[in-house]
């Protein structure tokens, strides 16, 4: 006997589909709530979950008929997004059973992400699951599957350390700052110049609870504007030396052709700072900070190439961690399959019990009218026992005696002896 429902996954991601297709197929927050309900309403679909991010769309479902379900999901995606199915069918992947489970585990553990090990995807799947749970589009199988998915993802994160180290320049800068200062709470940041990467780094630092941002820009107005964005204060370019006395982290990204901060300047600043550590992050090319400054005590200078070197090493580490993660996924898939197969057993047992109960209740009702056993003659009880045995064993006996057993009669006999423990030495 097989399960009534199969697990089916249809989706596309950054590897199989270009961004033009992904932006057509994707759902925004409200859309995806409605889409989830619409999917659930499809005839061939029993339980369903919809994950939609900028890098992937995944429809995870259980279905009694996976071919019909696949067809319905594809045409739903096509109608919903007003795009002919032929345009994106080639970008879709489709997994069933174990493969669908494995895919789900890998996606949640960020083994399938563009940046392997990035942490956002797990949150997005949790969000999708929360929607499915509140809208009651998920049931026994998907609840269990998602529950396991979160456990696997968490286990991979803690055991392989896949997300431990930064793989982007601005995160690497934050990680270094933490290794220098420990806690970033209350650390002051000075931004010299402007630029996407530098501003991103400032944002990361603020998110890590650094405070009081100073902004120095050659155009004071631009500095004021930036400072407002970070809730900070603008200073004039000539005030940088004074600013260095109070800040802890300096991010520099100007278009200057020569060094903005020189060694002697830094040395004087350190004396006035009473040697409190100072960390320069130099994102500019050509460089803003004299690299010689790195040789002074308690000052650390990282330029863009240094940061790249750091993340390259981290990327290699993540790849090693990912290999380990795949092994954990394999284990989890096997365990899930065992649970999934055990699902077959439950309805069988329930059915058996129901059948026996019906037979016994009917016989007892006949022997003791009114439900009372008082005044029932002994031979009436004997009769009832005989009738019970006959009725309960009627179907098994007929099947065992049946001549058209397709060559599996021996199996059937063995199973029967085992099920009812007719041979003493049998164990489970």
């Amino acid at each position: 006997m097989t399960n009534k429902f199969e697990i089916l996954l249809i989706g596309l991601n950054h590897k199989t589909a270009p961004v033009e297709i992904r932006e057509c197929i994707g759902f925004t927050g409200d859309e995806s709530q409605q889409a989830l309900l619409d999917l659930h309403a499809l005839e061939a679909i029993h339980e369903v979950l919809l994950v939609s991010t900028c890098n992937r769309v995944e429809v995870l479902a259980t279905t009694p008929d996976k071919d019909a379900a696949a067809r319905q999901i594809v045409s739903f995606l096509s109608e919903m997004n007003n795009i002919p199915a032929a345009d994106f069918e080639g970008n879709l992947y489709q997994h069933a059973g174990d493969e669908a489970v494995r895919h789900m585990f890998r996606v949640a553990a960020s083994l399938d992400s563009m940046v392997v090990g990035e942490p956002q995807i797990l949150g997005q799947i949790k969000e999708a699951y929360r929607a499915a749970a509140t809208k009651r589009t998920s049931g026994v199988i998907l609840n269990r599957l998602l529950h396991k998915t979160f456990l696997v993802a968490k286990r991979i994160r803690t055991e392989t350390g896949i997300g431990d180290h930064a793989v982007s320049i601005s995160y690497a800068a934050v990680e270094l700052a933490r290794k220098i200062f420990g806690d970033l709470e209350g650390r002051k940041v000075l931004l010299i110049g402007a630029g996407e990467m530098a501003e991103l780094a400032v944002e990361h630092l603020i998110r890590n609870r650094a405070d009081a941002v100073l902004v120095a820009n050659r155009t004071f107005e631009r500095g004021v504007e930036l400072a407002r964005r970070f809730n900070g204060r603008a200073i004039r370019f000539e005030e940088i030396t004074d600013g260095l006395e109070t800040v802890d982290i300096v991010i520099s990204s100007t278009g200057a052709s020569d060094y903005v901060i020189r060694r002697d300047q830094a040395r004087g600043v350190m004396r006035r700072r009473r040697n409190r550590p100072l960390f320069f992050i130099d994102i500019a090319v050509p460089r803003d900070i004299d690299p010689e400054i790195n040789r002074l005590n308690n000052i650390y200078v990282y330029d863009i190439d240094d940061l790249k070197g750091v993340i390259e090493e981290n990327i290699e580490d993540r790849q090693r961690a990912a290999t380990k993660g795949e092994r954990l996924v394999d284990e989890a898939v096997i365990r899930f399959r065992q649970w999934y197969e055990s699902l077959d057993v439950v309805p069988t047992i329930v059915g058996l019990r129901r059948k026996f109960e019906q037979v016994i209740r009917a016989e007892v009702g006949r022997t003791c009218p009114g439900g009372s056993a008082q005044g029932v003659a002994e031979d009436a009880l004997d009769k009832m026992v005989n009738a019970l045995v006959n009725k309960i064993l009627h179907d098994p006996t007929t099947i065992l005696k049946c001549e058209e057993g397709h060559g599996n009669k021996a199996q059937l006999l063995a199973a029967t002896r085992k099920l009812f423990k007719l041979d003493d030495n049998d164990t489970c």
């Binding site: 420990g182 806690d183 040697n275």
Partner: protein, 272 residues
Amino acid sequence: MDIGILGTLGLYSLSTVAYVVFLFMQKKGMHRYGVWLLVAGFVIHSLSIGYWTFMSGHIPVNTLRDTLSFAAWAVAGVFLLFHHRYRLKIMGIFAAPLATVIMAVVATMPVTTMAAKPMLKSIWLVAHVTFIFVGEAGLALACGLGVLYLTQEKAIKSKKPGFFFRRLPSLGQLDTAGYGCILGGFLMMTLGLIMGVVYAKAIWGRFWSWDPKEVWSGITWLLYAAMIHMRLSVGWQGRRSAIMAILGFATVLFTFLGVNLFLSGHHGEFTR
């Protein structure tokens, strides 16, 4: 005492193994084993020292063997306190092996008994020795933190974060904890020296007798006092503080062992 020593040595060694495994594998459970094995070792060690103090009627510090054992006890105890205060997991990688090595040396030394002298029974002496040793254990930890600081600093300055960069705490934490150890150690050492001076007055009739150990203790004390002063006045922190912690402890070691081995004086008889 031998069973106590061997039991202690065994537990300290296991704790060291746990810490080494923790350093490489980064499994939190290993770190917990490390701590609890060290706690167990420390308890047995304390019982053993307590037993011998009770049996002989004086604190066991009259042979080099006993003194070293006492030093290892102080290192383990101060580390456990420190661990409680600063939560720098990795620090055990320094303290546990240090206690283990000292105990290994102790275990190989022959047991020599000496007639208990009445001078050993003074409460002043017990206090003097205990404070000094606890203080020196704190300074030993500061030295270990200094080494870790320099290792981490090298990883950051050379821009090749690797094995240690990931495993060691931040420079800020190492520096703060190191300074804490120096302050605590210095305070204990100061108290211990005061006890010693008072005790000297009581039995020899003078506070200070230019004995080599006294002179070197004075030098050590001045060195640490200067270190703390420079940190407070002109900000000797970070790298310089780490180097000073290591140099300072080298002086401590010389005062503790070198003076007894190379110079003579009235402390000599305790460690021969």
